[in-house]
């Protein structure tokens, strides 16, 4: 391991972990502006208020000092383990995501696994264990119901998510994450996978796949309108009802970390990763070019996440059975047909 690898690992962990408070702040500010409120504006560091930017810090400190309660009848081992299970996968997934172009000969990516996309899919599906364990181990009926809902929901929507990722694999002809991005940098916007990856015939399929992926990603992250596992109206707080202090904070952070990872995935697979026509030159390997490409990547993630937040504060929530119906009877067939279309077009008019 050279110094570059270490630096990149630290950077990626910091990116996700530091992204969480920024995201919390962003969510609170955007929701406030949607709802005609001001949002957090009181916390200050050395008299600097910065529009409540330090509010998440205060929240974290508050949670640290709270009592860490374990219910008497809980399954102690699983109860302690569950928050880790939801928190680790989003961090792991980020190892294979190229978060920028190159600086010199170093690609801005922690590890370029040859099976990149498959790794992402397998690690993402680990998250459901944390939710199911948490719901079961708390020995609380609301938690149990939330855990059950979550496992059913995550497993259902993972299929759809997987199918739309396969669509991208077909388009790109590779499962190598770096290669997937590189193929999207060949020309202007039309080479983005969302717009067909350079093949105009695939434009509708790319859009459909992007939409299906986005909806499934909302469901995977338990965001409104799919936040049934933790809907406060019915299940108090769902699977993390009994959790307090830092264990609750782990769940809370995991939710936002998962959002960051999912949006990074969406950007990588559909929106051309770190590439932006006219702004980033793929051949530029200087420090400035590398940092610029990373900036573009983060900005795209921000846009995807802003849409997440906008949706959350606008829509009501689905019912459990309606959610399942949408997943199995609408999104899954659409994704399947889309896959078929791409396969047929790829065979008939493919480049190879």
């Amino acid at each position: 391991m050279n110094i570059w690898d270490l630096a990149k690992i630290v950077f990626v962990i910091a990116l996700v972990l530091q992204g969480v408070p920024v995201l919390v702040w962003l969510e609170r500010k955007i929701s406030a502006s949607i709802q005609g409120r001001i949002g957090p504006n009181r916390t200050a560091v050395l008299g600097l208020k910065a529009a409540g930017f330090f509010q998440p810090v205060a929240d974290a400190v508050k949670l640290l000092f709270k009592e860490d309660v374990t219910p008497g009848a809980a399954d102690r081992f699983l109860y302690q383990l569950a928050p880790l299970f939801v928190f680790v996968p989003p961090l792991l997934v980020f190892t294979v995501i190229p978060f920028g172009n190159r600086i010199g000969e170093e690609h801005l990516q922690v590890a370029n696994l040859p099976i990149g996309v498959l790794f992402v899919m397998s690690v993402l599906s680990l998250g459901v264990y944390g939710v199911a364990f948490g719901g079961w181990a708390s020995n609380n009926k609301y938690s149990l119901l939330g855990g059950l809902r979550a496992s059913a929901q995550l497993i259902s929507y993972e299929l759809t998510l997987g199918l739309s990722i396969i669509t991208i694999i077909l388009m790109a002809g590779t499962v190598d994450m770096r290669e997937i991005v590189a193929r999207q940098t060949r020309s202007a916007f039309l080479s983005w996978n969302l717009f067909g990856g350079g093949n105009l015939l695939l434009l509708p399929s790319g859009l459909v796949a992007g939409l299906v992926f986005y909806v499934a990603a909302l469901a995977e992250n338990n965001r409104l309108p799919f936040d049934l596992p933790e809907c406060e109206a019915e299940l108090v707080a769902g699977y993390h009802t009994e959790y307090s202090s830092m264990k609750f904070a782990m769940y809370f952070m995991a939710e936002y970390a998962a959002m960051i990872t999912m949006s990074a995935l969406f950007v990588t697979l559909f929106l051309g990763g770190w590439h932006f026509p006219g702004l980033v030159d793929p051949a530029d390997t200087s420090w400035i070019g590398g940092l610029l490409s990373h900036g573009v990547f983060v900005a795209k993630m921000g846009a995807v996440i802003a849409l997440y937040i906008w949706i959350r504060w606008t829509l009501p929530r689905f019912r459990y059975d309606q959610l399942m119906r949408l997943g199995w009877k609408v999104l899954l067939p659409i994704a399947l047909v889309n896959l078929l279309v791409i396969a047929v077009i790829g065979v008939a008019w493919g480049e190879r």
Binding site: S31, I34, Q35, G36, R37, K141, Y142, L145, L148, R149, L224, P225, D227, L228, C231, E232, A233, E234, L235, V236, W313, T314, L315, P316, R317, F318, R319, Y320, D321, Q322
Partner: protein, 374 residues
């Protein structure tokens, strides 16, 4: 091969009295099969404050503030119902200006209450933003109340004979200002929630109360009207000069929803806010001059006898039954609380629904626990 079928057990889920969606301290004991609710038993009484018994120990004018705390979301109506009952016993003629002011206050309070019902119902089906929008408009109404009587929630504004304090030009301006923006806001609510496809699929055909059932259970207010019963006490037995105003009685219609379902119960309230706005405009335009209260001496005695008055409060038929023995305190007070009667139908319409639906049904009934437990 297993020779015996696996035994399954119902789950007993205790929802409340501390729960985000029971609208106060209601406790629901659910028997569920997984997510499916097989039986609901509402348990009430956590907010019981002996409000009726207290009434027997207080003079009439002292009892008015206690009525504020029954239906705390529409205190004006509770004030009004008590005053009307006492006035009927005393046979007082109420000045027209006082009657109009009472109508204005009751309708403003109806809008405020329906706004809250709209917002919390949105919250129950998972939409958070409409709740704060409703809060924003309700704030304007509360500011008017604060201006005119100093209180924002428990007004104690009406008294036997009229009201405590006259309204002035600035108040009329505030109401007009509110009405001028309110139609746009209602359109915003409809766009955001009422016609939202997710919202409609959540509420359509859910918890249907057929017309017969509504009659048999004695339901009243928006719930009965959503089931297609065109019954509104403001029209059927006009009190406080309601017969002088033009307004429509919204009823549940087939179309987007099914008659008597959650969507119609929700939408009847939206339409009622429009009608309340119409009544407010008429009342402000035709506000007569004169006294804002009849002359009633302090420490008055009420002639012996009994009186029962019903009014249409935002939740339905609110009745005050008072027996007087000729002294200055009532001998017996009995209150017919609409929420209490309306809640009783909940177990009937929520067998076999999902837990999420139960919350939606409860939200659509729009109960106030202060009134149920008294």
């Amino acid at each position: 091969m297993p020779s015996k079928e696996l035994e399954t057990q119902d789950m007993l889920l205790n929802m409340g009295p501390q729960h985000p969606s029971t609208h106060g301290v209601l406790r629901l004991v659910l028997r569920t099969d997984g997510e499916l609710v097989s039986d609901v038993t509402p348990v009430v009484g956590y907010l019981h404050r002996c409000a009726e018994k207290i009434g027997e120990n207080l003079r009439y004018e002292q009892y008015v503030p206690y009525t504020d705390r029954m239906d705390y979301l529409s205190s004006m109506s509770d004030n009004l119902a008590l005053c009307l009952a006492v006035e009927r016993l005393m046979k007082i003629e109420i000045p027209p200006r006082a009657q109009y002011i009472r109508v204005i206050m009751a309708e403003l309070n109806r809008i405020a209450s329906h706004l809250l019902a709209f917002g919390t119902f949105g919250l129950d089906v998972g939409a958070f933003t409409p709740f704060l929008y409703a809060w924003r408009e309700r704030e304007m109404i509360l500011n008017m109340f604060e201006y005119v009587c100093g209180a924002r929630l428990t007004y104690n504004y009406m008294k036997v004979g009229g009201v405590w304090k006259d309204v002035d030009k600035k108040f009329a301006e505030m109401v007009n200002n509110f009405l001028s923006i309110f139609d746009d806001k209602l359109k915003e609510y409809n766009d955001l929630l009422s016609y939202n496809q997710i919202f409609i699929t959540r509420t359509k055909g859910l918890g249907v109360i057929p017309r017969d059932m509504a009659l048999a259970w004695g339901l009243s207010g928006p719930i009965a009207r959503a089931s297609g019963i065109e019954w509104d006490l403001r029209r059927a037995e006009p009190y406080s000069s309601y017969d002088k105003f033009e307004f429509r009685i919204p009823v549940g219609r087939p179309g987007i929803g099914v008659v008597g379902d959650c969507w119609n119960r929700y939408f009847v309230r939206i339409e009622e806010m429009v009608e309340s706005g119409r009544i407010l405009r008429q009342a402000l335009d035709g506000l007569p001059s004169g006294k804002f209260s009849a002359d009633v001496k302090r420490g008055y005695k009420v002639p012996a006898g009994e009186a029962y008055t019903v009014i249409e409060n935002p939740r339905g038929e609110l009745g005050f039954y008072i027996i007087s023995d000729g002294s200055d305190t009532p001998l017996r007070v009995k209150i017919r609380a609409p929420s209490f009667v309306n809640l009783s139908v909940l177990p009937e319409i929520s067998r076999g629904v999902l837990i999420a639906d139960l919350i939606a049904i409860l939200g659509s009934i729009d109960i106030v626990l202060g009134e149920i437990d008294r």
